[in-house]
Amino acid sequence: MKTTYKRLLALFLLLSLLLSSVSTAFADDDDWYTYTYSYWGDEMASPNAYAVTNNIYLQDLDSELGGFSNAQGIFTIDDLVFVCDTNNNRIVELVRREGKYELVRVIYTVAVSTLVADQMKFGDAVDNTLFAPTDIFVKHIDDDIREKLYPESKYIGTPYEFPDTPATPAADTEKKDDAQSADTPADAQTPDDGAATTSSEEDGETGETGETGETGETGETGENGENGENGETTPPAPKPSERKDNVIKQELDRQYDIFIADSQHNRVIHCDYNLNVVNVIKDPKDETLGPNYIFIPIKLVNDNAHRTYVQAQGVVNGFMEFNKDGVFTAYVGAAKVVLGFFTKLWRKLQTREQRKRSEQYVPTEYNNLSLDSRGFIYATISALDDQDIYAGIATPIRKLNSMGSDILIRNGAQFPMGDVKWNNIQATASGSSKFVDVIAFENDTYCCLDKTRGKIFAYDFQGNMLYAFGNIGYSKGRFSNVTAMDNLDEETILVLDGMRGSITEFSMTDYGKMINEALLQYKQGYYDKSAEIWKTILQYNGNFELAYVGIGRALLRKGEYKEAMKYFKSAHDSENYSKAFRYYREKVVEKYIVYFIIALAVLIIVPKIVRKVRKLRKEIREA
């Protein structure tokens, strides 16, 4: 008898142990791939809004080219994809045909005419190579507009003749050897290369190589394999650029203008689709910039008014705005300085001298920007204090109007700040989300790319979070170090992983499409239709609070206030609940006001009558 008890107990313990281990394993397992946040800031599982449909490696498209090395920028227009292969000093252009990606060309150099040769000078010599390009922007442009903008038509200048052999043949070969040895992997790790980030001596050297490197010689494909090796080790800084022939696989006829942030050559190159340079933005002149200021453009866009906005390294006053001729005109959208309460108090208490000596509070630097379809700039800031983000003082995502003020709507339960809770012990990375890129869609939703956890966060035009997906990891749809993203169309996102050298293509699932459809229907005023779609979405994802709000709003418009209140309550939307409640109260009061008045009248009048009657009776009796 006793033994059976013991056995049962042992079995029970074993079972509970097993069950508990199973359940903890489940909890420990990576958080849900796609999720939303509840009103209370808890993660809630969500169906996938995007699914990985393609993984592109440059090696797979052309094995001779090697992989991407620390690629920093990606830009898509129509069916073309431009990738800034930063450490390989080149831009790779791909085209998407029937879901597959094909190589169009690899850009190492741009074509310089005599008209712009002076502007293309780097150091003393004309340099038409790219040196660590970090971003590219491409836009449609017609010949008419081009004529209007640039009457001197720099596009059709005579090609600039590069000085062929400036030195004696013997010296020339020597230098060629130098150039080639610099390309070997062994040499690539010399400290010389490691320190190439900003040093100006390095720049001088590169100018030299650009001068001596002959197009014919260096165009040989012998070194490409070595480049590939570099791509895998991801050297910390790009190698000095050198003139190579562009690799052209396909000839496309397009009407585009291209802007390239040629960061280590300290310039922005503006050229047409055939790479004929039109203009160069360099050496911005302004008193806020010191005499030793070196212009290092990192990210850029060009708006409908042909103004170029550049985020340059170390510039904290906002984006630099250049007019169509490449002249610096103004700063736009300086991020305001965020001071905590105690810092403010402390600074109040300090004397002027102390304040001067204590640390300077400068605005935080932007790190990326993109244009939406209406010409507003979406910008991201990553250098923010975790505490400020948590408190909602800091704004990691901003939407700037032409005046440079932040007009992003933040009506959600949480601010658009990526992850809401980040002190999770199980988490793969700690700290707040650090956004490195943002894209805006036609319907005013926008996606932000978080470097901390390799996640993409989507928000609607009101600042409500739609979903978040992605993570750090090695499986499909996870990343090592995301650097940039762009959308090929309204339903396809390309995410660039700088460390892995890959482009991940995400396509929207039916669930994601439904959310977009519901938002669109609501925006166009078809509230019933939108409510129907929200109801379907709820069948997929009962956690989605936005859907309850959507249905509630439709009910509110229809006049079903009580039902609307129920839905708003489910979504913890007290603002809308209050609105619905006001109408509901009105309705109830209207309905019962008559009875209420009658009751009141009865309460007041009846006692009076009774009293009078009694009085009368008394009088009668007495009489």
Partner: protein, 224 residues
Amino acid sequence: MKKILSAIAQFFKGEGWRNYRKTLRYALYVIIHPFDGFWDLTHEKRGSMAAAHTIVILTVLTHIWDRRFTSFMLNNTQWSKFSIVMNILGILVPLAIWVVANWGITTLFDGKGRMREIYMGTAYALTPYPLIGLPMIIVSNLVTKEEGVFYTYFNVFALIWAGFLILCAVLMIHDYSLLGGVAAVIFSIVGMAVIMFIVLLFFSLISDAIMYVVSIYKEIVFRL
């Protein structure tokens, strides 16, 4: 059965019940005439412990009902994390610590009041909270979010009133001057902090001690 009923009837007719009603009604006098009221409360024996308990219970109930029945718009309670025990203790524990701390401080500083009187005075001083809070719960269900500021204002007013009454209670019960009363209140609050600190320290030390014994026991069991 008849006996019980007659006993109940006897109770409601009796002196005790009449006294209870009288002392409870006296709370309404106290909150409007705090100086007279609190003086008479203890010195003229116009208050009773039963009434004080009633007010404290009403305060606790008001607090819970406020969380439970206040309109959704003005009520940000996360029900999955709501604990009724914590809410009850959230009123009773600070009250107990306050009474102890105030008694300790005033005993040192020549206060006249006994602990029982301090409790009674504090309980009577809490009267505005249920008095305003309970109707406000109903009102909150009739207003929109914008009109909800009235709910907030009235509740804040009730708290300020209660705070003022507590100060008056301390002044009158211990026969202090205004300055002495304020000082007593401040020192009592400091004393509350010290008590809480010591209690926490005590519990953490105890748990450490228990862990120590447990680990020694385990070690011995493993060795044997």
